[in-house]
């Protein structure tokens, strides 16, 4: 694993994307096919099945490190990463080895078939022959979330460089349900004709946030506007009589949304639709938390299917009659989509997302202001002659979201972050006034600058009243403006409400504690926007 470890070290030692790409491309030129395949898998969110629980890992690491478990547990939030904490705690290895990445992954997979004593013996044996960096990577393979500063996009670009292929076509090859167990490097990357994989989606085209108004985009007539729905971005694929549903996070969600099975009755074979999956009340989407109840469920109870039925609000047609349409202009794709979706029964689980007519940017701004009435977050603007690109590209697709709702709240609990934010207090719980009491109503993690996080961290350390494990109760003193996209009733929360996308928009140092908002203020917002 020394080559993989040295690749990681190079990537970790630089903040420059070009150097990371080059290091990865060099690795792709020299590594074995199985190591390459696993590297592609790891950097596209695929990992071996977890064979050991993190509880067991902690216990075994403490034992091998000769320290009590509590001491390892106390070190973890300070390091901010369990795999790293263990790697740093263990004594130096007693021997050296250079077995390939694939060997260690195979070893981890094989643990599933042996008893716990053997698992432990084999993990300890691995630790005893890996250096600290290799141990960290080995532990990461077990604990998952293999995020080490390499995005799928960067990996794809490096692979494109190493294999002299086009990045976009490689990105498409890498989509879908493959795992290193079901394919080979040759079949996935090298063969001329991509093996027929009926479930393979297209890489999603993602929009940028429009920071200023749309005037800079040019003539209004060149643009198409739609609501920006608050659902799950998804692709629905109908090929060879079967249907497949993919989320933007490249998760296959076919079984979670059985409603879409009926689509094969209405729609022709050989099509791929892009759109937003929403829970639908017959006329408009339910609030997002209704859909949320569906997301977590792998199998859906009948009652939930009835209470929160989903549909696809389709806005693009990527494939028709088995042909890839992505290079066509949007308006032509849209016209074909409208033809495909024309005259469907009212209860079909799909609708064409309606384009919003407008003559001037001014009239469109008025439409945007009514987005919340339509359960939308704002508008999408798409250039009518734009092809369907892959990934986040500036220029043709923009999201023009509503200004968020805000409330001023008091920080009452703080917790340290992970990874890059280890050792900093970054995760906070906020409260509003209910009479003389502060009632917690939301957490928020983002929105402050590094400098502000440093300042608040120093303050938290000096003003901790009580500790509950990693959580510190702090003196109520600081007021923050919390921005959010939506507000819903929630019986699970003490305050009775839940926010959508809460974040800290401002540190209100100017605001005295007593002037933070109240629970009644939140209830008013709930009445208006919930």
């Amino acid at each position: 694993m020394k080559d993989f470890s040295s690749l990681f070290t190079t990537i970790d030692q630089t903040t420059k994307t070009s150097l990371k790409t080059k290091a990865l491309a060099d690795f792709f030129k020299s590594a074995s096919d199985t190591d390459k395949l696993w590297t592609i898998a790891l950097f596209s969110g695929r990992r071996p099945k977890r064979a050991v629980s993190t509880t067991q890992l902690r216990e075994w690491a403490a034992e091998m490190g000769g320290i009590p478990l509590w001491l390892l547990e106390e070190s973890y939030p300070i390091v901010g990463d369990l795999a790293e904490t263990i790697a740093l705690t263990l004594p130096p290895p007693s021997r050296d080895s250079d077995l390939p990445l694939t060997h260690w992954i195979t070893e981890l997979k094989s643990l599933a078939t042996v008893d716990v004593d053997q698992r432990k013996a084999r993990i300890l044996n691995a630790w005893d022959q890996l250096d600290p960096t290799e141990r960290f990577l080995f532990n990461k393979l077990i604990t998952g979330g293999f995020r080490i500063g390499v995005s799928q996009k960067l990996m794809t670009r490096a692979l494109a460089q190493a294999t002299d292929q086009e990045e976009a076509s490689l990105a498409h090859r890498l989509m879908g349900a493959w795992t290193p167990e079901t394919t080979t490097y040759h079949a996935l990357i090298e063969v001329e004709d991509v093996e027929a994989d009926d479930s393979r989606p297209y890489p999603f085209y993602l929009a940028y946030q429009l920071e200023d108004g749309p005037e800079a985009l040019g003539a209004p007539e060149d643009w198409q506007a739609e609501w920006k729905w608050d659902g799950i971005r998804g692709q629905i694929i109908l090929r060879n009589g079967a249907h497949h549903v993919w989320s933007r996070g490249e998760e296959l969600m076919t079984d979670r949304f059985p409603e879409f099975a009926r689509l094969t009755d209405f729609l022709p074979d050989g099509i791929v639709l892009d759109g937003e999956i929403v829970a639908w009340d017959g006329a408009q989407p339910f609030p997002f938390n209704t859909l949320q109840a569906r997301i977590g469920r792998k199998t859906v109870p009948k009652k939930l299917l009835k209470d929160a039925p989903v549909i696809l609000l389709a806005y693009d047609l990527l494939e028709h009659e088995g042909q890839d349409l992505r290079a066509l202009p949007l308006q032509e794709r849209r016209a074909r989509m409208d033809a495909v979706l024309y005259d469907l029964p009212e209860d079909a689980p799909i609708k064409a997302a309606p384009p919003l007519p407008f003559d001037t940017w001014g009239t469109l701004a008025q439409t945007r202001a009514t987005a919340r009435d339509h359960r939308a977050e704002g508008l999408m603007l798409k250039r009518k002659d734009s092809p369907y690109l892959s990934g986040r590209k500036k220029g043709d697709w923009w999201k023009w979201k509503l200004d968020p709702l805000t409330v001023d709240a008091v920080m009452i609990y703080a917790q340290q972050g992970h990874g890059r934010r280890a050792n900093l207090f970054t995760d906070f719980t906020f409260a509003v006034w209910d009479g003389n009491d502060l009632v917690p109503f939301t957490k928020a993690y983002s929105g402050l600058t590094d400098d502000e996080f440093r300042k608040i961290t120093a303050w938290v350390r000096k003003n901790t009243q009580q500790r509950f494990g990693p959580v510190r109760q702090v003196t109520p003193h600081h007021v923050f403006e919390i921005a959010f996209e939506g507000i819903h009733a929630s019986p699970r929360h003490k305050s009775g409400i839940a926010l959508r996308f809460p974040r800290m928009s401002r540190w209100r140092r100017d605001k005295p504690l007593q002037e933070a908002n109240t629970l009644d203020d939140l209830k008013d917002l709930l009445k208006t926007y919930g």
Binding site: D12, Q13, T14, T15, G65, I67, P68, W70, L71, L72, E74, S75, I78, V79, G80, D81, E84, T85, L88, T89, F136, G149, H418, G419, R420, R421, A422, N423, L424, F425, D450, F453, R454, K455, T457, A458, R461
Partner: protein
């Protein structure tokens, strides 16, 4: 003073007590590294969180005094040699090398046969420039624990020096300057003792060079350095290593060196999260403080029963010591708001 009550009180008191001004010795009526102005201050070393301005009289080692004068200006300083004993009131006092930086000391205080040692900051491995750490037997030991967690373990200095020199040599070959962030007193000079001056010229920030001058004058051996004054043209010194305080990295001052690779040298670089947050190209794990094993071996060597843990992960460290048969307590101090590794990466000592 009339005899009996005072003596009784004195017997009941500890050799050192802990007050809101700092560590206090009632028998000798002096403070050790106090953080509020006092009449008499015994100082372990010159870092700003230990040697503060405003005291009436200072006592430190002769090796530490020049830096103190350099930093605190016109102060009244008395000096002692390492190991020399001095009676102050009813206390017998001596200074012993702490290995933290050149001139740094632990302070031994003996009253009526009971011995306490205040360690200040310390490091147990030799670094080729500081007077090597000397264990001092005592009954009670005040220890720092900046890196008092089992995840903090340092590679030996030779290994880190090899990495450091390889980084510099590679940058020089690529036509880049190597800008290394390190605290100006202690860490900077230790690094100077580690690098290979044959690789290229060594440029220094003013804060570092001023300290170099003081230490050179005392007889500490440092390689030749060039003060990067405002009129220095960086192009005249290709492939240079630039040593500057961490705050200078990323500043206008650092941009004058053209294409460069940046690095920090600190014990915190052991943590990947901190390294990434610093957004430097490299992080060299090198600290003026004892690592986990160093703390444990130092404490063991004092043969002390009572341990007072200060600046760092005090609660965790004291809890661990209590499981190891020591009588350990947390000591709240105002150390660790300073300028070396005691400063946790989030801006303040934990």
């Amino acid at each position: 003073m009339c005899g009996m009550p005072t003596i009784l009180m004195r017997m009941a008191q500890s050799v050192l007590t802990f007050t809101d001004r700092g560590i206090y010795c009632p028998a000798g009526d002096f403070y050790i590294d106090p953080w509020r102005p006092v009449d008499r201050a015994l100082i372990t070393h010159g870092h700003a969180d230990h040697a503060r301005p405003g005291h009436r009289r200072y006592l430190c080692t002769d090796a530490c005094a020049p830096v103190m004068r350099h930093r605190l200006g016109d102060i009244s300083v008395e000096t002692v040699k390492f190991g020399e004993t001095r009676n102050i009131g009813g206390a017998l006092v001596s200074f012993h090398p702490a290995g933290h930086l050149p001139g740094s000391a632990q302070i031994r205080v003996e009253v009526a046969g009971e011995v306490w040692v205040a360690s200040g900051d310390y490091k147990v491995v030799a670094d080729d420039i500081s007077e090597p750490f000397e264990p001092v037997e005592c009954h009670s030991f005040i220890t720092e624990c900046t890196f008092g967690l089992p995840v903090f373990k340092w590679d030996d200095q030779k290994t880190v020096a090899k990495d450091l020199n390889a980084w510099w040599a590679q940058n020089a070959a690529d036509g880049k300057a190597s800008i290394l962030g390190a605290y100006s007193l202690g860490k900077a000079q230790r690094l100077l003792a580690m690098v290979d001056p044959d690789i290229g010229p060594i440029l220094t920030h003013g804060a570092v060079e001023n300290t170099n001058e003081v230490l050179r004058h005392q007889g500490y051996q440092l390689p030749d350095t060039i003060h990067a004054t405002p009129d220095l043209n960086a192009k005249d010194h290709p492939g240079a290593l630039v040593i500057a305080p961490p705050s200078a990295l990323g500043s206008q001052w650092a941009r004058r060196f053209g294409p460069s690779s940046t690095a920090f040298a600190s014990g915190w670089m052991r943590l990947r999260g901190v390294r990434r947050r610093r957004a430097a190209d490299r992080g060299f794990v090198i600290s003026d403080h004892a690592d986990w094993d160093g703390l444990m071996s130092a404490i063991k060597a004092t043969d002390a029963e009572n341990i007072y843990a200060t600046h760092g992960y005090t609660e965790i460290f004291a809890r661990w010591l209590n499981t190891q048969g020591y009588n350990a307590q947390v000591l709240k101090t105002e150390f660790g708001t300073g300028e070396d590794d005691t400063q946790a990466p989030s801006g303040e000592a934990a």
